[in-house]
């Protein structure tokens, strides 16, 4: 398929237009597909389990993915710019530990949270430096940082969870409170997702992220400072981990040094199921969030159906593989 004639052009083009081009806000195939799958799962599960379609279960499911969803957004943007971050789980835990330790040492919890988020941003900048200035690969830099950050968590706490019983109620409110019956966590999540989806689609700043990920050289040849772009997306992802960590701390009322192990896989899987490309240049926030929702609905369903936890991992992995295979197949057909 190296040479594409005119007849080929018109068919691909027709297919593209039918599936929704980038203009006009038409329905995009990936997102539509995910919504359909999620809807089917909902339908099946509401028959299979009387508990599934209850307010409590819905709320529990949403709580499960809301905070992680913030990290998914950071990861998606990083993936679009052509990077990847394996350290998200440890960095999220580190945010909890830093904020928790500072609080236990008498710092105001809000200030402690701010410092923790700043620390995470610094870790992101540290990785960004190694990637853009030293020239190492994201994968290996973030692998190292994943281990280092986890080590710092264990070092700071001696491996034991920090009980933060004295957290003031107004701080715990972000993690545990509700407004009009809707948990604050979910409100934060929804506002954040809508905002970031809009920014990614509409701002010139994030358009440069797409250019950089799509073809870094061509982006540089368009006058875009690609190293700066990659540095910033790397830093942003870690910063968002910091936010997530602080919210988790407010929710649990504790800081757990082992929290978030394996989170990176879940987060990357969600983004990829949502259509983000590991080679950069492609991805949407809506898709990634739908990917997160799908994984969460599957976990919840399996739990309700009394399927062993071990099976859950196997099924999650299979979903990921199916999504990526489908992606590859479609990409190959596009030529």
């Amino acid at each position: 398929m190296s040479i594409v004639g005119d007849s080929m052009d018109s068919t691909t083009q027709a297919a593209r237009m039918g599936l929704g081009a980038r203009f006009g806000g038409l329905i995009r195939m990936r997102e539509t597909g995910l919504i359909l799958i999620i809807a089917v799962l909902f339908g099946v599960m509401s028959f299979a389990s009387p508990y599934f379609l209850t307010w409590d279960n819905m709320r529990a499911m949403a709580m499960a993915f809301a905070v992680e969803g913030i990290v998914v957004v950071g990861m998606t943007i990083l993936l679009i710019s052509g990077g990847i971050d394996l350290s998200v789980g440890s960095v999220t835990a580190l945010a909890m530990v830093v904020a928790g330790l500072l609080f236990l040492n008498g710092m105001d919890p809000w200030l402690a949270s701010l410092v923790a988020i700043a620390a995470c941003a610094a870790i992101g900048a540290f990785m960004g430096f190694f990637v853009t200035r030293v020239g190492l690969h994201h994968f290996i830099v973030s692998l190292a940082v994943m281990v280092i950050a986890r080590g710092l968590c264990l070092l700071g706490t001696g491996g034991r969870p920090l009980g933060l019983y004295t957290l003031p109620p107004e701080f715990k409110f972000i993690g545990q409170g509700a407004v009009g019956g809707i948990p604050v966590v979910i409100i934060i999540f929804i506002v954040f997702v809508i905002l970031s989806d809009f920014m990614l689609r509409r701002t010139t700043m994030f358009r440069k992220v797409f250019y950089t990920g799509s073809n870094e050289k061509a982006a540089a040849y368009s006058g875009i400072r690609t190293r700066k772009v990659v540095f910033l997306t790397t830093t942003l992802c870690s910063t968002l981990c910091g936010f997530a960590g602080v919210i988790y701390m407010a929710r649990f009322g504790s800081a757990q040094p082992t929290f978030g192990a394996g989170m990176e896989l879940n987060v990357i899987a969600a983004a990829v199921i949502g259509g983000a490309s590991l080679t950069g240049g492609i991805g949407t926030i809506l898709g990634a969030i739908l990917g997160t929702v799908l994984l969460s609905v599957v976990s919840s369903s399996l739990a309700l159906l009394d399927v062993s936890v071990y099976w859950q991992d196997i099924i999650r992995g299979s979903i990921l593989l199916t999504a990526v295979t489908a992606d590859y197949y479609f990409n190959k057909r596009r030529g």
């Binding site: 040479i3 594409v4 004639g5 005119d6 007849s7 080929m8 052009d9 018109s10 691909t12 083009q13 593209r16 237009m17 081009a21 980038r22 203009f23 689609r201 509409r202 701002t203 010139t204 700043m205 358009r207 440069k208 797409f210 250019y211 799509s214 073809n215 050289k217 061509a218 982006a219 540089a220 040849y221 368009s222 006058g223 875009i224 400072r225 240049g281 492609i282 596009r334 030529g335």
Partner: protein, 508 residues
């Protein structure tokens, strides 16, 4: 007494969809001859070679090897028939030894469990002895480009080949290395191997080949004995019409202006070039000629601050610019069209509109930094129309377009910022003849409208055809300038390769 015919092709046709790449092509290769294939880009040379090498299957036609009709379904089948192909790009594994590279396909086919390195090296030594002094145990990465090319040739020779195809082998070589390569090619021909030699360089063909077959627009035109023809005649049959008509009208004397649009003064770079000074006048198309590797692209990228540690002055309309990054250059109105459209010119999986706005996203955004998709689309459509871009919809990905239309998108990208000067590096590479003429006309129109146009091209006819004046670069310096009647292939070649005697017999 006739020398035996090794390869005979008749009535060969191959289409890609509606594009007819080869139509009823014939070709004949005798043992021991060096047979050049000449033709412009898109003439069908590489398609023909891919058919011979079994990479592409022909739609119809007959291929005979040693007088027997054969079908060549794969490169492996081609190897078994004794056909070797030395590709333009070097495709060796850089981290393993020369011997291992040479015997890669043999190792692949071998049933032995363990590698016998001593035997490999011994056999590699025997083959390399024919080609020159290369250590079979050396790691490929440590070899020079020309040595790597010899390893490629050695690889082809292991397969007992009797037909050897060279696809522009001198593109990456220095003059001296090229000379060495020709000695080896002559030696191989002397052993009775039939050599098919593809090149754009008339001088090379006339110095080294026995016959030349010309293709044009996928058709067989003629086969000529080198001894009985002239470069002019070959070029004329390649182009098929008087060269002047292929290119747009040049600047008339009364249109010439003395206004200097851009002046470059004393531009230097650490290693790539030094002391580059020239002026670009209003309305003219300025060409930059020279051999590949002479530093042409480096100079232009240096001016735009795309690469290199550059010192020197860039003066646009009398104003000295201070540039540190390509972004500054774009803002000042100086843009660069890359020679490698797919590698670093375009975002293939993104839409036409997004590609066109890449150079200055701000122009399609509101003051608060939000992209206005309607404006993006309208701008893309307007510029597309100006260049008569053929596409269904500016929302479709660039990868669905033909080469010529992709190149138009790349040019549209430049035009989106209303540039004052455009540097175009090989603006028609890989573009078919029709789109090529169209791009030339566009460049002329832009120049008339007052945009400064500077063109780098390795195709001398193109350079001569569209430029009003040509600067020649050799080893990172400007070695001459030709204009008007002095603009001939010979003059340019002499200036481009002055230091190397011997190779330019026809030019001298």
């Amino acid at each position: 007494m006739e020398t035996p015919v090794l390869l005979k092709i008749s009535g060969l046709s191959k289409s890609f969809g509606p594009v007819r790449a080869l139509r009823d092509v014939g070709f004949e290769l005798r043992a021991g001859e060096i047979h050049a294939i000449a033709g412009e880009n898109g003439a069908g040379k590489s398609t023909l070679m891919k058919v011979i090498d079994g990479i592409l299957a022909p739609d119809s036609g007959d291929i005979q090897v040693d007088g027997r009709s054969v079908s060549i379904p794969s490169p492996l089948a081609a190897q078994k028939l004794g056909i070797g192909f030395v590709h333009q790009e070097i495709a060796l594994c850089p981290d393993i030894s020369v011997a291992e590279n040479i015997f890669m396909s043999l190792t692949n086919a071998s049933k032995a469990l363990l590698m016998n390195y001593r035997d490999l090296e011994k056999r590699a030594t025997a083959i390399l002895a024919r080609l020159g002094n290369i250590d079979p145990a050396a790691t490929v990465r440590n070899l020079s480009i020309s040595q790597q090319q010899l390893v490629e040739i050695a690889k082809a020779l292991t397969l007992d080949c009797r037909i050897l195809i060279f696809d522009e082998p001198t593109a990456a070589l220095t003059e001296r290395e090229a000379q060495k390569l020709f000695e080896i090619i002559h030696q191989l021909a002397g052993e009775g191997i039939g050599i098919i030699y593809i090149s754009h360089r008339m001088a090379e063909i006339f110095d080294n080949c026995d016959r030349v077959t010309v293709l044009r627009d996928g058709r067989y035109i003629t086969t000529l004995e080198i001894a009985e023809t002239t470069p002019e005649q070959v070029v004329a049959s390649m182009v098929g019409r008087v060269i002047d008509s292929l290119y747009p009208e040049k600047l008339r004397d009364d249109e010439r202006s003395e206004d200097i649009l851009l002046e470059i003064a004393g531009l230097c770079e650490a290693t790539a070039f030094r002391d580059i000074s020239f002026q670009l006048r209003k309305g003219e198309i300025l060409g930059i000629g020279g051999l590949i590797g002479a530093g042409r692209s480096e100079i232009v990228k240096g001016i735009c601050r795309l690469e290199g540690e550059v010192t020197g002055d860039v003066i646009l309309r009398g104003k000295r610019l201070s540039l540190t990054h390509y972004g500054d250059s774009i803002a000042a109105g100086i843009v660069y069209l890359s020679e490698d459209r797919k590698g670093d010119g375009l975002f293939l999986d993104m839409s036409i509109a997004a590609n066109i706005s890449a150079l200055a996203v701000d122009r399609i955004a509101t003051r608060s930094g939000l992209i206005n998709e309607r404006r993006e689309k309208q701008r893309a459509e307007a510029i597309g129309k100006q260049l008569s871009l053929k596409c269904g919809h500016v929302g479709q990905p660039v990868s669905t377009l033909s080469g010529g239309n992709q190149q138009k998108v790349a040019i549209a990208k430049m035009l989106s910022v209303d540039p004052k000067v455009i540097f175009l590096d090989e603006p028609t590479r890989g573009v078919d003849v029709g789109a090529k003429a169209e791009i030339h006309r566009i460049l002329r129109r832009l120049a008339r409208d007052g945009v400064g146009i500077v063109v780098i091209s390795s195709e001398l006819p193109e350079l001569i055809g569209i430029c009003d004046r040509v600067l020649i670069v050799r080893e990172g310096r400007i070695t001459g300038e030709v204009a008007g009647a002095e603009m001939t292939e010979e003059n340019i070649m002499v200036l481009a390769s002055l230091a190397d005697e011997g190779r330019q017999r026809s030019a001298a």
